[in-house]
Subunit: 423 residues, 2 copies
Amino acid sequence: MSIEALARLAEERVDHRFKGLPPDADGLTVGELAAQRRNLFTDGFATPVLALSAERLEHNLELMEAYAARHGLVFAPHGKTSMAPQLFQRQIEHGAWGITLAVPHQVRVARAFGIERVFLANELVDAAALRWVSAELAADPSFRFVCYVDSVRGVELMDAALKGAVRPVDVVVELAAGEGARTGARTEAECAAVADAVAAVPTLRLVGVAGYEGEVPRADPERVAAWLGRLVALAVDFDKAGRFAAAGLDEIVVSAGGSAWFDAVADVFAGIPALSLPVLKLLRSGAYVSHDDGHYRKLTPFNRVPEEGALEPAFRLWAQVVSRPSQEQAFVNAGKRDAAYDLDLPFAQVVRRDGAERPATGVTVTALSDQHAWLGTTAEADLEVGDWVGMGLSHPCTSFDKWPLIPVAEADGTVVDYIRTFF
Amino acid sequence: MSIEALARLAEERVDHRFKGLPPDADGLTVGELAAQRRNLFTDGFATPVLALSAERLEHNLELMEAYAARHGLVFAPHGKTSMAPQLFQRQIEHGAWGITLAVPHQVRVARAFGIERVFLANELVDAAALRWVSAELAADPSFRFVCYVDSVRGVELMDAALKGAVRPVDVVVELAAGEGARTGARTEAECAAVADAVAAVPTLRLVGVAGYEGEVPRADPERVAAWLGRLVALAVDFDKAGRFAAAGLDEIVVSAGGSAWFDAVADVFAGIPALSLPVLKLLRSGAYVSHDDGHYRKLTPFNRVPEEGALEPAFRLWAQVVSRPSQEQAFVNAGKRDAAYDLDLPFAQVVRRDGAERPATGVTVTALSDQHAWLGTTAEADLEVGDWVGMGLSHPCTSFDKWPLIPVAEADGTVVDYIRTFF
């Protein structure tokens, strides 16, 4: 990573670009504000404000580092989740091989911060983006870049855009997770045709196979394992067919693994037989870094393997009650602009008043407007205008992307850092 | 507005912060890039990219300027929609009295660009934000600020935060749109109690009444008109009761009007009788600036009064087909990170290949992942990997907020400007 680029983040000015921060911090640098170690609840932060837990973030980083190491997996966590170079750095410090990304813009962010290994878990046929990738590869011999291919037409478009490139672009053939699933060639025969097309052009180099078990239709442990078995068999067949004999290739990439089935990936990848080259078993799970209080709380593989640990939800969104028009309703000043709402509504967890925090008994988020959350309140709810409500969120990807600068707070509220995101 | 602050936007560097822009424009200023008048389709823009239509934007700005003037309404368009100071400027050039906003962070953005009149259509009880507003009022005699109050408790919290303020904060009492509706005091008696509380503190000044007819339960023209009648009657009663006799007050604010019922607001507000002071009839509609291809296309009042004109949808999201795994499916590289999805999915409108554009016959968006749109394709669909798909969006508020810098393109694709947003 580029220490200089990361350091420049601390030199950014706190101003109107960043919501939730103390208005009286305007004009300080982010580094100066962090050095003040302000308290999230008493030192002038404005609502709504999203906070990350310092301790839980560290816990999650350590847990997945240990998990990947224990299972012999190389880890390239999906960076689209946070798009936060400071978190990319911590993920790499915690053993990550590199960062997985979804679209070329995200690769530009990663490269601006000096990420050396990028796995683009997507097809890339955009000529402007390909020319940019090619220039990055030419300019920096240490830049390792791998992306998907799933069609002969895609290979042709890539080759056309990359004509004359100094270094070929490394690609993996994407096997779809089933009929009706997302991207990826649907059959092994189609995968072979794509690999043939890759072999026929000088601008691309086949380095492995990949896919995303999270899209297996009607996913359950058996179906997911069966698809992972197909992916491994594809790698074995390609290897037997001599498809990984390109000059200079020193490992074969086999990659899968979102945030719902990495236990299955670990199990099936443990059985990958010896191939003609060492195998880079690349896991891509990204949601673990913040985890959540909804979707991933339910889906995390740690629910099936509790002896391996447990992720902890690291986000809490704080909003203030601005209206209490009836005994059944209250409104806080955070809405769709502030909270994920695509998988679940936020979960009211705690209420703060006069420095005391207690459970949000009888309080439920029933809807979101653009800038309000609608709260339903039962007779037991003790809630009044001015109270702060702490809410858990569901879906890290649609939480991070609503906050360009996120305070990281310790359990007592001391804000020790600020995480910059780029969406 | 601050011409200097706006000019500084043109001095920002094009870099990894801004998705969709040409990678080879890195390092140019936004102003330099605009001066190149690049073509959206042929000059290196990367997918996905959201574009605003220059002509349609101008058309919408002119149409609402004329509408408000024709109906004797003062216009403070809701700025939360775009959070784009350049559009605020154009709205003000097109006759707007000021800008409506929803939360204090948005007021900070507006003030950073020198907006002189802000209507905060929300309760504000955050002490840190109130102290900041108070300091802005003290520092700038030309800053006009009005916000809602809907509870006695809220008045007490405001007064506590504002103790010692140089200028009082102007407030309007918010009348709720009905039982079970959003914020606002539910009854006229509660509104009077809130007004009494305001009158009892030196830090606040009552300047009018307001509400939001968009939340009238089971809204139809009759129910909306009935509620607007209640709002007007409340202003009349407050005036008769001498509630607008504060020293220095020279007008009474009566405000309503989102983007679905401004025809009803115009009709009912036309009947406001003479009060003891001139009445500022303040309309707040915000979605008109971009309009849309879904929710507001259906809801716009211009459908009821076509003789007054028609708004035009100004957004088009361009994404590229990256995968075509079967005859029934295709995938483009834009998802929840790029498109509004809270009210409707995007609408596939046109397909571009080799410079030719045609209707997206047989192509439907069926779902969004974080970074993909799922397209369903019938036998008539002519779609292949590499094609660009132009999509219409539903809900301006959740479209603008996914794009920090948005190209403004003329009909032939020439990009003439870039709109910066702050979320």
